[in-house]
């Protein structure tokens, strides 16, 4: 992983496992989600992750729309999930 990223560079959704572990009791990047924009269903780990200085964006690998947005101000952390129409967890 890296110390610096430009806007055109991205990581895999699995790199968001740490920040998202503050919200979810399970490893949510292994869960499948549906893009609210194009309907693609895939593991969140396969989405494109764009970290920035105050959080991260997760974009659909199919249509590039935003699936998830996390903003961390230090005192609080906010998760915007409106780009996902569902998340499916696999038990066991």
């Amino acid at each position: 992983m890296t110390d610096n990223l430009d806007d055109l560079d991205y990581l895999d959704g699995n790199a968001a496992a740490g920040p998202l572990s503050e919200f979810f009791a399970i490893d949510v990047v292994s869960a499948r989600g549906r893009c609210a924009s194009c309907g693609r269903i895939d593991a969140l780990a396969t989405a494109r992750l764009y970290p920035n200085s105050h959080g991260l964006l997760l974009r659909c690998p199919g249509c590039a729309e935003i699936l998830m947005r996390l903003v961390d101000t230090g005192d609080s952390v906010c998760l915007d999930l409106h780009g996902l129409s569902f998340i499916e967890l696999r038990r066991g």
Partner: protein
């Protein structure tokens, strides 16, 4: 899975190359980790400024210890400190190990193809170590494992002695492609990894291997494209980009 920030203690440091070092950390309460997971490390400056970076776990240890191998980035805010300054007895804030996607599961009997670009070998080494340490009764213990490691020069290789031992063992096949400088006396010039070399080095698509690719973004993009062109199913290819524009293979 552990969540939130916790304090780990540095209990060992091992140089890997001139610019990379392995830190062994102890995290009280941790009960093992999965091969391929990563850890977020947070440094806080005296003025309160924080920087968080993710590093792959290199080890496959059962208890409350794990290894991170860190490559120094010249303009980095975190890596120079971890590579040159942190000492045994120091404490680090960590979150994880986390990640359940880019992991090898000893219960999976599939053959495994690992493809590393440079320091992308770190989480793949964890998988090789987990495979070597697997309970012989687990389905994955007998799975064929193969590593293709693209690296700049002999002095940039991580875990060289251990990879040599693995290559001589029945546990794994190891191929190394040197991209800038080949070992003295090897008789082969350095070369970029290309589609043809990749295809002749990896397990065939017909074996339906689980493929794990880790490296700089450009490396991962090229390798994943070549694999799909060679007939590997995109569903069988898991990737971990560590960012940076890097170089293409």
């Amino acid at each position: 899975m552990r969540t939130g920030w916790r304090v780990a203690e540095v209990i060992g440091v091992t140089p890997e190359t001139r610019t990379a070092r392995t830190l062994r950390l102890r995290l009280p309460g941790l009960t093992g980790h999965r091969a391929g997971q990563h850890v977020d490390v947070r440094l806080t400056a005296p003025d309160g400024y924080t920087a968080v970076r993710s590093y792959s776990v290199a080890s496959a240890l059962p208890g409350d210890e794990f290894d991170l191998t860190v490559e120094e980035l010249a303009d980095g805010e975190v890596s120079p400190y971890l590579v040159h300054q942190v000492a045994v007895g120091d404490q680090l804030e960590v979150r994880g190990p986390v990640g359940g996607w880019f992991v090898w599961d000893p219960a999976d009997p599939s053959p495994v193809q690992l493809i590393a670009g440079g320091s992308g070998v770190v989480p793949l080494m964890a998988m090789l170590r987990a495979h070597a340490a697997a309970d012989p009764a687990s389905p994955g213990a007998a799975a064929p494992f193969r590593l293709l490691y693209s690296v700049r020069a002999p002095d940039a290789v991580y875990y060289g002695g251990e990879l040599d031992d693995l290559a001589r063992s029945p546990l794994a096949d190891v191929s190394v492609v040197y991209t800038r400088q080949a070992p003295a006396g090897s008789g082969r010039p350095p070369r970029r990894l290309d589609a043809a070399t990749l295809v002749e080095s990896v397990l065939p698509a017909a074996d339906n291997p689980a493929v794990f690719v880790c490296g700089a973004t450009a490396f991962v993009e090229s390798v994943a494209d070549w694999l799909v062109q060679a007939g590997h199913s995109p569903d069988r290819i898991k990737t971990e980009r560590y960012g940076g524009t890097g170089t293409r293979p």
